[in-house]
C-alpha cells in the first residue's frame, strides 16, 4: 500500500496504459487490429516498467529482462488461442 501511495502517478499511468489498450481491443471487431493493440499495450507496459524502475533508482538489466519476459508471456498466451484455437 505504501508503494501505491508513493507512486500514485506511476500506477495511474500504468492503469491508463492497460485500460486504454484493453478498451481499444474490446471495441474492435478486427482481429489484426486487436493484435496490434495488444502488442502496443505490451510494448508500453515494458517501457513503463523500465521508466518506473529508472525513476525509482533500481533499474538493472535483470529487471528489463523480467518485464520483457512477462510481456512476451502475455503475447504468447494470446498466440495460443489464435493459433491453437482459431488456426490462424
Amino acid at each position: 500500500m505504501a508503494k501505491l501511495e508513493k507512486h500514485t502517478g506511476h500506477y495511474l499511468s500504468l492503469i491508463t496504459i492497460l485500460g486504454v489498450g484493453f478498451a481499444i481491443l474490446f471495441f474492435s471487431s478486427d482481429r489484426s487490429f486487436q493484435m496490434l493493440s495488444l502488442t502496443l499495450t505490451v510494448f508500453f507496459y515494458v517501457l513503463w516498467g523500465i521508466i518506473h524502475h529508472y525513476l525509482n533508482h533500481d533499474l538493472t538489466a535483470k529487471i528489463v529482462v523480467e518485464y520483457s519476459l512477462m510481456g512476451a508471456l502475455g503475447e504468447a498466451l494470446v498466440f495460443l488461442i489464435l493459433k491453437g484455437g482459431f488456426g490462424l
Binding site: K3, L4, Y11, L14, I15, L18, G21, F22, L25, F26, S29, D30, R31, S32, Q34, L38, T41, Y45, W48, G49, H52, H53, D58, T60, K62, I63, V65, E66, Y67, L69, M70, G71, A72, L73, G74, A76, L77, V78, F79, L80, I81, L82, K83, G84, G85, F86, G87, L88
Partner: protein, 282 residues
C-alpha cells in the same frame, strides 16, 4: 514433490527469496511451452479435424425463438422466419467466405440489400446483423442485445420477417462460424405473426447449404486453448500474489520487478483472453 512445489510457488532462502516460477528461466520455459502448445494444437486441428476444431450449437430455430422472446419483452410483434431472407443470409455468408471479408459491404461494393433483392424479396425495410465465433445461439442474441445498433435492428417494429444463416468456414485464415441475420418487411405496416410465403426451391437450397457444414469435433479448440491460457494466467497471478505477501511479511529486500505491476498486467491479459476467445459482432 512437496518440496518441489514449495520451491516453485513460495519465496524462501532455497530459491533466493523468489518463487521459482518467477525466475527468468521458468518464465522463458513457460513461453516456449505455450508457443509449442499453440503449434501442436494447430497441427492436431489440421490433421484431425474430427478431434479438435471449431464447434457450435447455433440453429436458425433457436435464434428465431430467442429473437422473438426479446421482441415480445419489448412490446414488438414476433418475426416470421422467411426462407427468402434465410437464403439471402446464406448467400451473404458464402460471399464473405469466398471474398474473404468481415463487413456489411463486400470489397466489390455489394451491399446486403443486393442479396435480399437477388432472392426476390421485395423489401420496404431491411436490416442485417452479423456475428462470428460464437458457440451458442444464446451468446449470439445476448451480444446483439448488448450493442445499441444491433439491438435496435432486432427490436425494430419496421420488420416482420427474418432469415438466418449459420455457416462454418475460414475467414482471413481463421476457422470460424459466421451468423448472418437478415431482417425485412415487404409492407409499410408491420405484420402480426402472419406467415411469409415459402418457395419450395428456396427452402431446400437453404437446408442443403446449412446442413452440409454442421459437423462437430470432439473438442472445441477455442474453448480448450482459452481454458489452457486462463489456467496459466491464474497460476501466475496466484504465485505473484503469494510471493508478494510472503516477502512483505518477512520484510526481505530484493532487486526484482514489482509483483503488483505484473499482477495488473496479467489481469489485463486475462480480460484480453476472454475478449479474444468470444465472438465478434458488426
Amino acid at each position: 514433490m512437496r518440496k518441489f512445489l514449495h520451491d516453485f510457488l513460495f519465496p524462501h532462502h532455497h530459491n533466493n527469496f523468489r518463487s521459482k516460477l518467477l525466475h527468468h528461466k521458468s518464465i522463458f520455459f513457460t513461453i516456449v511451452l505455450v508457443l509449442f502448445a499453440g503449434f501442436a494444437l494447430s497441427l492436431v486441428r489440421t490433421n484431425f479435424p474430427q478431434v479438435l476444431g471449431v464447434s457450435y450449437d447455433i440453429t436458425s430455430s433457436q435464434l428465431l425463438i430467442l429473437t422473438n422472446q426479446k421482441r415480445q419483452e419489448s412490446g414488438a410483434s414476433p418475426l416470421s422466419l422467411s426462407d427468402k431472407l434465410s437464403l439471402a443470409a446464406t448467400y451473404k455468408a458464402k460471399d464473405m467466405f469466398s471474398e474473404n471479408y468481415w463487413a456489411h459491404n463486400s470489397p466489390s461494393g455489394r451491399t446486403p440489400w443486393v442479396f435480399i433483392k437477388d432472392v426476390g424479396y421485395a423489401y420496404v425495410y431491411a436490416g442485417e446483423n452479423l456475428a462470428r465465433g460464437f458457440n451458442s445461439s444464446d451468446d449470439v442474441v445476448k451480444a446483439w442485445m448488448a450493442s445499441p445498433d444491433h439491438r435496435e435492428n432486432m427490436l425494430s417494429k419496421n420488420y416482420s420477417d427474418v432469415g438466418f444463416a449459420v455457416l462454418k468456414g475460414k475467414l482471413s485464415g481463421e476457422e470460424t462460424v459466421l451468423i448472418v441475420e437478415m431482417l425485412g418487411s415487404t409492407n409499410f405496416a408491420t405484420k402480426t405473426g402472419s406467415e411469409t410465403a415459402v418457395t419450395p426451391s428456396a427452402s431446400s437450397e437453404v437446408q442443403n447449404l446449412v446442413l452440409s457444414r454442421n459437423e462437430k469435433p470432439f473438442i472445441n479448440s477455442v474453448i480448450f486453448s482459452r481454458n489452457l491460457a486462463i489456467s496459466i494466467v491464474i497460476v501466475f497471478i496466484t504465485v505473484l500474489v503469494l510471493d508478494m505477501l510472503v516477502i512483505r511479511r518477512r520484510k526481505v529486500t530484493r532487486f526484482v520487478g514489482h509483483n503488483l505491476d505484473h499482477i495488473l498486467f496479467f489481469i489485463t491479459i486475462l480480460l484480453v483472453i476472454i475478449i479474444i476467445a468470444r465472438g465478434l459482432i458488426i
